[in-house]
Assembly symmetry: none
Homo-oligomer: 137 residues x 4
């Protein structure tokens, strides 16, 4: 699997913090590598403590399945194909805010954001993930 | 309980890998014995890391109850007879992809497959389980 | 409790990374606030994966007791006054590399470093912690 | 980090099983990749059930620290530099039988063996790890 450098992880964090600052939403941001191991983390001033674990969980969920965290909801939801999926892997987080980090078409990790409303978290995660993709071009 | 040899477990894995390769779906495959202890495991190249735990969970669920993993859903589902059943035993996986391994009418273990869509996982699990049955004939 | 800003935590990380780079020892660095909650984290390229948890543990130990992590060893060691102390709090790390972050005589958090030899980790933790103190002056 | 293919992992298992068979010591063998995720596993017929977790633990310890599992003992032992190290990372296994898998000078994973005496486990782990190195030459 491709590696994710600390410099890249810090670019992801910085892009996420910039977006969150612009939106005035203090969040926690976690960056994991493709092997689902923590690479970098930042808790913005004023971000909720309960969101530390959620940011980690979103990043972990996204890295484990190489898709957006909320994509797992389709499988997990009542009536979905995979009842109880969210309870596997020690607990998944299946709402938005976790996104894969993709470089040259390959998943090199994932970012997870938590602290605001779900749509806000997701917008910040998107900005964070996109920064790495843009930097790679 | 009847024993499951490593040779048999490897036959199960090989049949599963062959079926998955034919379907171009990289999966994780876990084989447990009738005592619900891990006997053999393989993660195909490109298989999702989040599916390791699910493959294990499907095999464990199937071995624990000597039935297909999805058969537990009937009891677990909202309105089913056994509310919360999926949370017993440290967490069950109650969607398809786990199947008992049967030799001479006796359950000797179970196989669990995860990595593709649920129907794909189940087709692979079926091929894996059938190989053992066929070999025993 | 006094607060630790993300900017301060990033100063701590940067000072630690700079020291570790000069020593050619890739490490994991965790920064916690005085409430013993994660504030920032960085895994340098090439740092051991097993040291993620140890860096976290050293920072947690130091923040929990507001002293250097190795100071707990005196109590924990065979014959020490507090037999089994290292097993409290979900497991402490009682060797060097965890240091309190002090601003104006008050503990505002702690830093934990792991990846090299213990003496190396400690030197990096000291550099990291000192940077914050110096910046505060 | 470099990837470890299923084919390579199966070579490692096969070499371990061959060595164990020659020594008449039934063992469990676990193979992890460099990201410390399970790749392949085999329990030989007659191997102790209590050794499943130990084989996993040795492989995990070796992959986490990119060294032989028993090398951690030097740090962990009474009077060693890192009192309690064995309790980090959810519990390490710091006796022999876990070895890194090295290809072209890079660690691509680790193998863990358990079921016999420690020296036997280690000889089997060495045979297993060497097979991959030899195959890569």
């Amino acid at each position: 699997m491709s590696s994710l450098s600390l410099q890249e992880a810090e670019q992801v964090l910085a892009a996420g913090v910039a977006q969150a600052t612009e939106m005035s939403v203090p969040v926690n941001i976690a960056v994991l590598d493709a092997g689902v191991n923590l690479k970098a983390f930042a808790r913005m001033d004023g971000a909720l403590l309960g969101s530390i674990d959620i940011a980690m969980g979103k990043a972990r969920t996204s890295a484990l399945f190489q898709m957006n965290s909320e994509d797992l909801f389709e499988f997990s939801k009542p009536g979905g194909s995979s009842f109880g999926l969210e309870n596997t892997n020690g607990g998944l987080v299946v709402f938005a805010g976790g996104r894969p980090l993709v470089v040259d078409g390959e998943v090199v990790g994932a970012v997870g954001v938590s602290g605001g409303a779900v749509a806000q978290d997701d917008a910040i995660a998107q900005a964070a993930a996109t920064a790495l993709t843009a930097a790679a071009v």
